[in-house]
Amino acid sequence: MSHQPEVLEMRTSDGVLFNVSLKLAQQMGLTHNWLQTEHGELRSSDDDDANIMPLDRVSSEIFKLVLSWCHAIQGIQRSADEKTRLQQDRDVFDNIIRESNASDATIFELIMAADYLNIEGLLEAGTQHVADVINSCDSVEAIRARFNIMCDSEMDN
């Protein structure tokens, strides 16, 4: 009788293989779908590739940050209060981007990875971070300057 393995192999878009504990991987909604639809039961086979979950849209660099986030979340006592939980997610996110000295590009890729992997807490924290940056800008020009966006000619009409 086959059983659910404790470790899931995941390969990022640049070919790097990660062994992720099932408990951690279950924070990602994408793995539920993959396990249910692609592999109802993982089985040993000559073709080991069949048991590797592909992450075609996430690079290894970003996936490491995702795993850091998942580890940190797993390690804290989650509050029953939604507002407090959101703040916990924010704090973890802020720590990660600070420790990794993440650029805007990295932050956006992390948001897209959260969207792709279906990690709600990470997506909320990332988008809240960007929203806070926008909220702190006091004009349209300030937002453009902050994100290096040139003005569309049509926006002036």
Partner: protein
């Protein structure tokens, strides 16, 4: 009706700049998540004005939230104190604005929109003008401008005095409300009423009542055109000469009649003992008689109508027993006359406001014998007691025991309107609105039933009929 502008749901092309801003790599779902977390409308507008892509995301969210379907210039000015932001926002939302309610000066609003270069609101369907503390009467020119600006308007409420010229320019109008229960300097002109009726084939609701003068409006030239009219509200003076024709209107569902009065109490009369009854009952009884097979509801204001015990003894409606809605208000006589109405087992709404001698027992008979009763309005009935509530609850529980466990055939709870009635204090003291014992059976409403007048009567100074 003009075509609604369509919104492309595909992602618009990203900037073709060589150095594409990193933020453009986010897909639209992520941008929408960011939008949802912006702190206020000012930030949202700033975000929208950054580039076309962000504008597209914001417009989608504003439109689908329906928060800004109603143009509220005062409120939007507070949310967007910067004039450029306000102009930008209104221009973006222009195709999606569906309602406008104005309580300040209409002429100022029209001027403001013109200055913002807003000339057409293509999807505006309702416009309510009800000024508070402002004497701003729209001129004929303003009405003409409005008709051009709002070509697809369906519902119009204008309670200030107007001549009526250009009202017929609202070609798709379905509802025209001109009544306010206050003094009005002048009423619509007859020739423009004729135009409205003859040139607006979609008209379904017409309210041309005048509060404090004897109306001079006549429908004799108009009634033949009102084939789609479902609701007519008018003064008795207007109804008198066209009663037969009005009762033959093929689509008529509701007729509300305001008794004409001019408040000129003789100098020698005492205000306290002056008889306020308006003794014009011929039309009332004629409607009762002619439309008896079709009457499913009627309401009378007992303060003004000269109703005495026995007034309803010989009505033809007893043969049909079709009443679903009954409202008799401000009744000062004995309550036993009410019992005969318990035979109307289809009653859904019972309004007995301001009955000076109302008692628990009579009311309980309605609860017992009218299983479809959904609205019970006993506002201002001071003689009712808290005992009524427990007894009513027992009757309802006996009819539907264990209602909370039966999910398949649940009747909605009985709504009791209890403003200033004898058990109002008890309801508030015991917090019965949140009582688990009551909540599946009785809900307490501290307002009045929808589409009834506020105050001592369901229908003020007159009567109302509902037809099948």
């Amino acid at each position: 009706m003009a075509d609604e502008p369509s919104i492309q749901h595909a992602t618009p092309p990203a900037s073709t700049n060589e150095q594409t801003p990193e933020i453009f790599k986010l897909n639209n779902d992520c941008l929408e998540c960011i939008f949802e977390r912006l702190q206020d409308l000012r930030s949202e507008v700033a975000f929208a004005r950054v580039c076309q892509r962000f504008q597209w995301v914001c417009l989608n969210r504003w439109r689908s939230s329906h928060i800004y379907d109603q143009l509220d210039m005062e409120k939007w000015r507070e949310l967007l104190p910067n004039y450029d932001d306000l102009c930008y926002f209104i221009k973006q939302m222009r195709p999606f604005i569906r309602h406008i309610t104005v309580s300040s000066c209409l002429c100022t609003l029209l001027k403001d929109l013109e200055e913002m270069q807003i000339y057409v609101l293509p999807n505006l369907t309702s416009f309510y003008y009800d000024p508070e503390d402002v004497d701003c009467y729209p001129s004929d020119r303003s009405i003409c401008k409005m008709a051009k600006m709002m070509p697809n308007l369906l519902r119009l409420r204008l309670t200030t005095p107007i001549q009526g010229r250009y009202l017929s320019n609202f070609r798709h109008l379905q509802e025209l409300h001109l009544y306010e229960d206050q003094h009005k300097a002048y009423e619509l002109q007859q020739e423009y009423l004729d135009e409205v009726c003859s040139q607006l084939p979609n008209l379904q609701v017409l309210d041309i009542r005048m509060y404090d003068v004897i109306s001079k409006l006549r429908l004799n030239n108009c009634v033949a055109y009102l084939n789609n009219l479902t609701i007519l509200k008018l003064n008795l003076a207007t109804l008198k000469t066209v009663l037969a024709e009005v009762l033959k209107l093929p689509a008529l569902k509701q007729l509300i009649v305001l008794l004409d009065t001019e408040f000129c109490i003789p100098v020698s009369a005492s205000v306290d003992t002056y008889d306020h009854k308006i003794r014009e009952v011929h039309e009332f009884y004629e409607i009762m008689e002619r439309k008896a097979p079709d009457i499913i509801g009627f309401a009378v204001d007992g303060y003004y109508m000269p109703l005495e015990p026995g007034w309803d003894a010989d009505l033809s409606i007893w043969s049909y027993r079709k009443l679903q809605r009954l409202a008799i208000c401000s009744w000062t006589h004995a309550v036993d006359v009410l019992e005969r109405y318990t035979c109307m087992t289809n009653l859904q709404l019972l309004c007995l406001r301001n009955w000076t001698k109302m008692c628990d027992d009579v009311l309980l008979k309605f609860i017992e014998m009218c299983p479809k009763l959904h609205h019970l309005d006993v506002s201002y009935c001071r003689e009712l007691t808290p005992n009524f509530l427990q007894r009513a609850l027992n009757i309802l529980k006996k009819r539907e025991p264990n209602k909370q466990n039966n999910r398949f055939s649940r009747k909605p709870p009985l709504l009791i309107y209890y403003v200033l009635c004898g058990f109002e204090d008890y309801v508030d003291l015991k917090d019965l609105k949140r009582s688990p014992e009551y909540k599946d059976y009785i809900l307490f409403m501290d307002a009045f039933p929808v589409s009834s007048e506020r105050g001592l009567s369901f229908v003020d100074r007159g009567y109302q009929f509902d037809f099948d």
